[in-house]
Amino acid sequence: MVDADVRGRIARLVDEYAAGDPSRPPVDRGAFLGSRFDAGLAWVHFPRGLGGLGLPRTAQIAVEGEFARLGAPATAQADNVIGYGMAAPTILEFGTAEQRDTLLRPIFTGEDIWCQLFSEPGAGSDLAAVATRAVRDGDDWVVTGQKVWTSFAHTAKWAILLARTNADVPKHRGLTYFIADMTAPGVEVRPLRQLTGEAEFNEVFFTDVRVPDSARLGDEGNGWAVAQGTLMNERMAIGGGATRESGMLGKLAGLWRDRPELRRPALHDRLMQLWVEAEAYRFSSERQRQQLLAGRPGPDGSGSKVTYAQLNQGSTALELEVLAAEGLHHEDWSLRRPTESNWLAGGATHRYLRTKGNSIEGGTSEILLNVIAERVLGLPREPRTDGSPTGKDVPR
């Protein structure tokens, strides 16, 4: 998958830190990841000098596998999901030279945690209806508004922000995309408790927050297009378990295998249906990867997130039914604020509740089905009743 040169670079780096040697003190993760970035081994499909080597996107899997094999520290992805999955590719595509030079490295090292400020109470599926205003004032923009469903806002240094800079043009055209400093005056973060009891998300209030124009990402009024790129990256990141029986289905299958006393014949075919669909999903994800590698990306990715949500929800629901009496018990309702995402770490009821969000966050399944019907199948759009309303006309 990767050639000897890359393998050599990886081996030298691991050697330099003696990262694979259990007899030595643990390696400083930030320093190691900084060296990975400098060696072009962060995101190998990024350009040289920006953490990459200009390799195909698909080489990344082999690189991570090689680092893991040699015992190197893990990346900061789990702490910095938005930074890795959304901010970095968007900055690479739309950022200025200075933005790319300064922002990418601390994303990879985990020094700068990022969050995303897109959704608002009145702008969910209809994202173009965002009402947060950014008004030009000299070299700055002054931003006021309310954002919601913000993961990592309480740990983030930076945010990617979608705001309205022109209320007099059709609503998709009046938006601009910014990088906002979450430590700036006027930014307030409030935990948003969710149905699992914890507060993985936040509400974020901006009151006259000054954002320099140099922190604009893309042209003024071009925010919708930049955001679409970001969301595409987000949805592509839903990769599906690379291995058989991973994720939620793996938990269910493991329970069935390990606890014979819980098995009920009437549930068996449902288990196997999920097993089969998870395996088809795994093949489909691998097929998409190969299509991308072959330079012929297919449209199947649009359906992946819908499948992923259905599988997760189906598996966790069945898991509770298998558990029966044990399924009545929730581990912990206390208000926690997790700083890393690992939905497999909690109990079965947590999984059941949390995965309800999988068909909502990052684009509802309903919106994705619309996208498939219209963009992939070419079915006619529904008659629009909002015409091309300007930002002012959007109902709140």
Binding site: S125, G197, E321, H329, I360, E361, L369
Partner: protein
């Protein structure tokens, strides 16, 4: 094309159609319960109470008992009860479901009461029934919450010389119970005892519940002194009756949960605008709500049939069949309706401060309590001669 009705086989008429609409008295009862709950069991108060040390709304329970006679409804008049039947009780259960009201109705007014009514001529049972009827005390049935009606009953509790030892978990409404009716194995035969919680010998511990509105607990008995209610087959029969009654009342409760989810979602879809339209005008969402509505209608008919069977049917196998149908169908409908509610509310339904999750937790827990849908269907298959293999 023309829709042609099926040829019906008139050679097998039903002996007596079930009574499937509620009568005027029940309608009045329904309104009274609903009014009381509207005044005293807002979801905001239910949610606020959920994480406290006092998960039950005792004052609400007293109102239900004293003002509406809920606790004595199923108890014969000779013991000071209202002498009502399962059809009346189902009216209340549905409304309690619609409000996810945190009261020990299922444990006390349904499970424990139905078990005691079944052996009402026994002295301890008579005495407890009199006190339950007046709302003076609260009880529960000390049996694992997920026991399936109609199965072989078992217990790990042993009684020796009137002292009970063993574990029962999870038990619904345990924390609110002053009396726990426990099935034991007593010198080679089953027996039903009444015990009281006790810090030394009958320890009640809270279990963090998936359903925040229905507390469950674990019971640890170490030579706990019990009062014998009855022994032998009547003990088993009393528990069996309680379970089948409980499953029927749970079905009615699930109809209440599902109807609330439907109503709440329809209202939200009319109110919430995206893309310049109420999202309830999008056809895909309309069809989904229509399917929820259709299933709630079927579930309600099934729940009414189950209550009617308990109230008037003499063949226990037929009661078991109709209750199994209701338990299976209403469970799945309630989970379906609440899951659709969560999805169609989008992000707002995922938050703690919105009541949707209280109903989701209730629906999913109810699905498991007194038998999951597949377990009811497995039992039903036996009763209608359709074995699995």
């Amino acid at each position: 094309m023309t829709a042609i009705p099926p040829v019906s086989d008139s050679s097998r008429p039903e002996p007596r159609p079930r009574q499937l609409v509620i009568n005027e008295d029940q309608e009045a009862l329904r309104t009274a319960v609903r009014d009381l709950l509207s005044d005293h069991a807002s979801w905001a108060s239910v949610l606020a109470r959920a994480e406290t040390d006092a998960p039950y709304d005792i004052s609400l329970w007293e109102r239900l008992s004293h003002d509406l006679g809920v606790t004595g409804l199923l108890i014969p008049e000779e013991f000071g009860g209202a002498g009502g039947n399962a059809r009346d009780l189902a009216v209340i259960s549905e409304q309690l479901g619609a409000f996810v009201a945190p009261v020990p109705f299922l444990g006390s007014a349904v499970l424990a009461t139905a078990a005691l009514v079944a052996v009402r001529s026994e002295p301890v049972a008579s005495e407890l029934l009199r006190r339950l009827a007046g709302g003076e005390t609260t009880a529960t049935l000390g049996i694992s919450a997920t026991t399936v009606p109609g199965g072989v009953l078992s217990t790990t509790v042993q009684s020796v010389g009137g002292l009970l030892t063993g574990t029962v978990t999870p038990v619904v409404d345990l924390a609110a119970a002053e009396h726990i009716i426990v099935l034991t194995w007593d010198e080679g035969e089953p027996a039903l005892y009444a015990i009281a919680p006790d810090a030394a010998t009958a320890v009640v511990s809270a279990i963090t519940p998936l359903d925040l509105t229905r507390p469950i607990g674990g019971l640890e008995l170490a030579a706990a002194p019990g009062r014998l209610i009855v022994r032998g087959d009547p003990a088993l029969a009393a528990v069996a009756t309680a379970l089948v009654t409980g499953a029927a009342m749970l079905a009615a409760e699930q109809v209440g949960v599902a109807q609330w989810a439907l109503d709440t979602t329809v209202a939200y879809l009319k109110d919430r605008h995206q893309f310049g339209r109420p999202i309830g005008s999008f056809q895909a969402l309309k069809h989904r709500m229509a399917q929820v509505w259709r299933r709630v209608g079927l579930a309600r008919a099934a729940a009414l049939a189950a209550a009617d069977a308990l109230a008037g049917e003499s063949d226990p196998d037929e009661i078991a069949r109709v209750v199994a149908v209701a338990a299976s169908y209403c469970s799945e409908t309630s989970v379906f309706a609440t899951e659709e509610m969560i999805q169609l509310h989008g992000g707002i339904g995922m938050t703690w401060e919105h009541p949707a999750h209280l109903y989701l937790g209730r629906a999913k827990a109810d699905e498991l309590i007194l038998g999951a849908p597949d377990q009811h269907r497995t039992r039903l298959a036996d009763l209608v001669g359709l074995p699995g293999s």
